[in-house]
């Protein structure tokens, strides 16, 4: 890994040199008179520098991305036949041993001869690859620089060339958003398809039992995993519902109060303070829920004679609601403020009081926007992870009682993926199927919410 920075520094030096010589050549071909040139001399320098650096960087990136998997494949191909016949997980162990040997880490057990030989082969391949990379990258940089340099003429439109390249870079940067979406969809989709080959999709979506433990041996208890996700969906909905019962009334009422009643002074203090709630990391809420709110609810429950689980859905939902208050309030605030003043004036002119104006005129007018805001808040609550991981339970429990422990989609994703992962067992793959559901649901909620909000905005614009 140390060679990459060296290469980058070398490339930077090459590009600077290219810039310098490009400028110089531009002066020379113009006979020292800049007005003979199409562009400013700096653009000629930049043109050459970009030609030297960009293709080389591209080659470097591709090389580094592919190097690891290529070498591993070649090493695996060189291993003796019986080792290659091992299952993928055993083979992975062997590869790990080889990698550890190469990087000088501690290896599990005494390495045998084939492993040692493979490690040696790995090391030599790595050495060859590194040497080759140096030669290839530097020669690509040299060739590119020479090409750019040779194109310098007084009539050459260097500025247009540079601007085209910059434009291309800008376009490439803006497509990262699309690539990310594609990456998310593909990564979640592929693993989910593999999961659905092992577990039928109908069982996943409509099954009532969730116990993703796959036993290592056939005689272990609970050896057959059950992947019915309905308890998870129910748990997620329950916690979201509790969160919304807290967040929607409080958020909405505080938005109304702050935008219609509060003096500018109160608003200037209370609004940012409420928004602090949105800036606090979710892990802090999780800690608060698990250590302060949950014991409090359990103790008050036992005073009332109720049997409350120590990881009750109520605690997680309550704290999640707290977190979402500013989300609901600032979105509804925007919506309420965008209701035209003329509607208010009309209502006041008819003799309505402020609260009547708000309830009978402003609220109905703002309703679609508020619905949109609530939908966005719901999608936030469904995808929220840390609070439920720390404060909700792990046991799947199909119940509507907020005092019992339930588990959610995000909790299960975390529990399935933290720690050991096997990408050929349904247990690990199930997390991706849950991720797919999460992604689709939040996406759909957002689409609907944004559609409603936009439609409503147009009404008054």
């Amino acid at each position: 890994m140390t060679q990459t920075p060296v290469l980058l520094v070398l490339l930077l030096a090459l590009a600077s040199a290219a810039y310098y010589f490009g400028c110089k050549r531009a002066f020379r071909v113009a006979d020292g008179r800049i007005r003979n040139l199409h562009s400013l001399p700096g653009y000629y320098g930049l043109y050459v520098a970009l030609w030297a650096a960009l293709p080389a960087l591209l080659v470097l990136g591709v090389w580094l991305a592919l190097q690891g998997s290529m070498i591993t494949r070649m090493v695996v191909a060189s291993l003796p036949e019986p080792i290659q016949q091992l299952g993928p997980d055993r083979l992975n162990l062997v590869i790990n041993d080889i990698r550890n040997l190469v990087s000088g880490n501690i290896v599990s057990g005494e390495p045998d001869a084939p492993t040692l030989a493979a490690a040696e082969y790995y090391r030599s391949l790595l050495g060859t690859s590194r040497g080759l990379l140096f030669v290839v990258v530097l020669s690509v940089a040299g060739l590119g620089g020479w090409f750019g340099y040779s194109k310098i003429r007084p009539q050459h439109r260097a500025r247009n060339g540079v601007e085209r390249i910059v434009n291309g870079v800008l376009i490439a940067c803006s497509t990262v958003a699309i690539l990310t979406t594609v990456g998310i969809v593909l990564s979640v989709l592929f693993e989910s398809i593999r999961f659905f080959q092992a577990v039928p999709i109908t069982e996943f979506l409509f099954g009532l039992e969730w116990s993703p433990q796959i036993a290592l041996r056939a005689d272990q208890a609970g050896s057959s995993g059950a992947f019915g996700a309905v308890p998870l969906f129910a748990g997620t909905l329950l916690i979201t519902l509790i969160a919304m019962t807290v967040a929607v009334p409080i958020g909405l009422m505080s938005a109304i109060y702050l935008s219609e009643y509060a003096s500018a002074h109160v608003r200037a203090i209370a609004k940012p303070l409420l928004e602090v709630l949105a800036g606090i990391p979710t892990v802090v809420y999780g800690f608060f829920a698990a250590l302060t709110v949950a014991p409090f609810i359990r103790d008050s429950g036992s005073i009332l004679g109720l049997d409350v689980a120590s990881e009750s859905a109520l605690a997680a939902g309550l704290v999640m609601g707290m977190m979402i208050i500013p989300f609901v309030s600032s979105l509804s605030d925007d919506v309420i403020n965008s209701v035209p003043q003329s509607l208010r004036d009309g209502a006041y002119g008819m003799g309505a009081t402020s609260s009547e104006t708000i309830r009978r005129v402003i609220f109905p007018a703002a309703l679609p926007g508020i619905v949109g805001a609530v939908l966005l808040a719901v999608s936030r609550a469904i995808g929220e992870t840390m609070i439920v991981v720390m404060a909700a339970g792990l046991a799947s429990n199909l119940t509507a009682n907020p005092l019992e422990a339930v588990t959610t989609v995000t909790v299960q994703i975390v529990t399935l993926l933290v720690g050991d992962q096997e990408f050929d067992s349904p247990k690990t793959l199930a997390a991706f199927a849950l991720g797919l559901v999460l992604f689709i649901v939040t996406l759909a909620l957002n689409f609907v919410a944004l559609y409603i909000v936009r439609k409503y905005r147009e009404q008054y614009d």
Binding site: G251, Y261, F287, S355
Partner: protein, 435 residues
């Protein structure tokens, strides 16, 4: 109109009717206003309860109970051959010396069980402190040194009043005999609460009294540096393209829809992406800040792009027109005139995005930044964890002393967040221009 008398009586009656309802309507108005005030009050109350509960649990973690020991550095124990070689000094059994000094203080303790309890008063880290002291100055060998070493976390909790002295002995983590020793040590001035430097200078540990946030903090810093280095240029470039150059077509619309949707995708899904693509396909090292930075970049990018576009939008068109009018190309107008004016707004958006990344935990869990890592990471390829993840890990630990440390780590995290937001606000105040 023909009968004025009738009209006036009708007017009087509707006036009376309105008057009759007025009290009820005013009461409704008051109730509604009160409701609004209560909502704001409840929201602020939540905030206050949250912050007080964290601070009241956590502020004690900045002090740590330490014990003064007089350790006789017996030359025969440490370095029998008198070579003073680094290796010999490193390997010597310092915990035996510490135990001896404890036995010297309480000579009456004889049974195995009691001795074991006695040794438990001092943290496991005491021997390492002593070793470092001796290695720094080998001439101490043969003398008696007096040094402060961290006490065990149970002693610490007792000193801070988190363990109830009065409860039945069987339920207490500290038994009556131990309690007697502690009282005696305290009376001798050998136990004291001192500033907890280890909390800021050490990595994670299984022993609460030795655990610090340095490792997590460095991991966070490396992760954020990677995030900043990638997301700022990418975000600004994307925003400039979309706002200044992009033609209005399907492709641009697609990009915009994508950005808006990515802003609302749950963060844990980005973790799944990191796991499936960056680890399984590209083979990047697990648990490394580089990987965390990549994932957080993708997560914060929409925030930065949206803020940067708003900043670009607020630059008036007259600036562009003036530049174009004197012969600048559109690219030159944007690069040299529009972007410098929009930069403060872009930076503010970036800082807010970074603050979001600083507090993010869920995606880091997916890519293996949750391992127990005692070493402080030295670079972006070393396995590391981050401050929020450290909070998550400590919150799961059963020891009472970790509750205090978790809260203290949260206080540090919140302080960083407050600082970043403050910088963003000041930046906005200082450079905000009204056109």
């Amino acid at each position: 109109m023909t009968n004025p008398t009738k009209a006036s009586t009708e007017g009087a009656s509707s006036f009376a009717r309105v008057q009759a309802g007025m009290a009820r309507r005013r009461a409704a108005e008051r109730r509604f206003k009160l409701l609004g005030r209560a909502a704001v009050g409840i929201g602020l109350l939540f905030l206050a309860v949250l912050l007080t509960s964290i601070v009241s649990r956590g502020y004690t973690a900045f002090w740590q109970t330490e014990m003064r020991l007089d350790v006789v550095l017996v030359a025969d124990e440490i370095d029998p051959e008198g070579t003073r070689l680094v290796d010999t000094l490193h390997k010597a059994d310092y915990s035996a010396l510490i135990k001896q000094s404890l036995r010297d203080m309480f000579p009456e303790v004889s049974s195995r069980r009691d001795r074991f309890a006695l040794y438990g008063l001092v943290s496991n880290g005491a021997a390492f402190d002593l070793r470092d002291r001796v290695m720094a100055d080998p001439s101490l060998i043969g003398t008696t040194v007096s040094l402060w070493v961290p006490a065990d976390d149970d002693v610490d909790m007792l000193m801070k009043g988190h363990i109830d002295r009065e409860g039945p002995e069987a339920d207490r983590r500290i038994k009556d005999t131990t309690l007697g020793w502690i009282d005696q040590l305290e009376a001798d001035g050998r136990l004291a609460l001192r500033f907890n430097t280890a909390f800021f200078t050490k990595g994670d540990s299984r022993d609460p009294e030795l655990a610090g946030i340095r490792g997590a903090l460095m991991g966070t810093i490396f992760t954020l540096v990677v995030t900043l280095a990638l997301s700022f240029p990418l975000g600004v470039a994307a925003a400039v393209y979309l706002e200044e150059f992009a033609p209005k077509n399907r492709w641009t619309d697609l990009i915009e829809v994508n950005i808006n949707n990515l802003a609302a995708v749950p963060s844990i899904v980005f973790g799944l992406l990191g796991l499936a693509v960056f680890i399984n396909v590209f083979g990047l090292p697990r648990s490394a800040p580089l990987l965390g930075g990549l994932v957080l970049t993708l997560m914060t990018l929409p925030t930065i792009i949206i803020a940067s576009r708003a900043a670009l939008k607020s630059v008036p068109p007259s600036i562009r027109d003036a530049a174009l009018g004197i012969g600048a190309s559109p690219m030159q107008a944007t690069l040299f005139h529009v972007i410098p004016l929009a930069l403060p707004g872009m930076l503010t958006g970036t800082i807010i995005g970074m603050a979001q990344a600083l507090g993010e935990t869920a995606p880091l869990l997916m890519i293996g930044m949750v391992a127990f890592i005692a070493d402080v990471p030295q670079g972006v390829f070393d396995p590391a964890t981050a401050l929020p993840v450290q909070i998550y890990l400590w919150a799961d630990s059963p020891e009472r002393a970790f509750v205090e440390r978790t809260s203290a780590a949260i206080m540090v995290l919140l302080a960083f967040l407050a600082l970043m937001n403050l910088v963003a606000v000041l930046l906005r105040k200082r450079f905000e221009r009204r056109w």
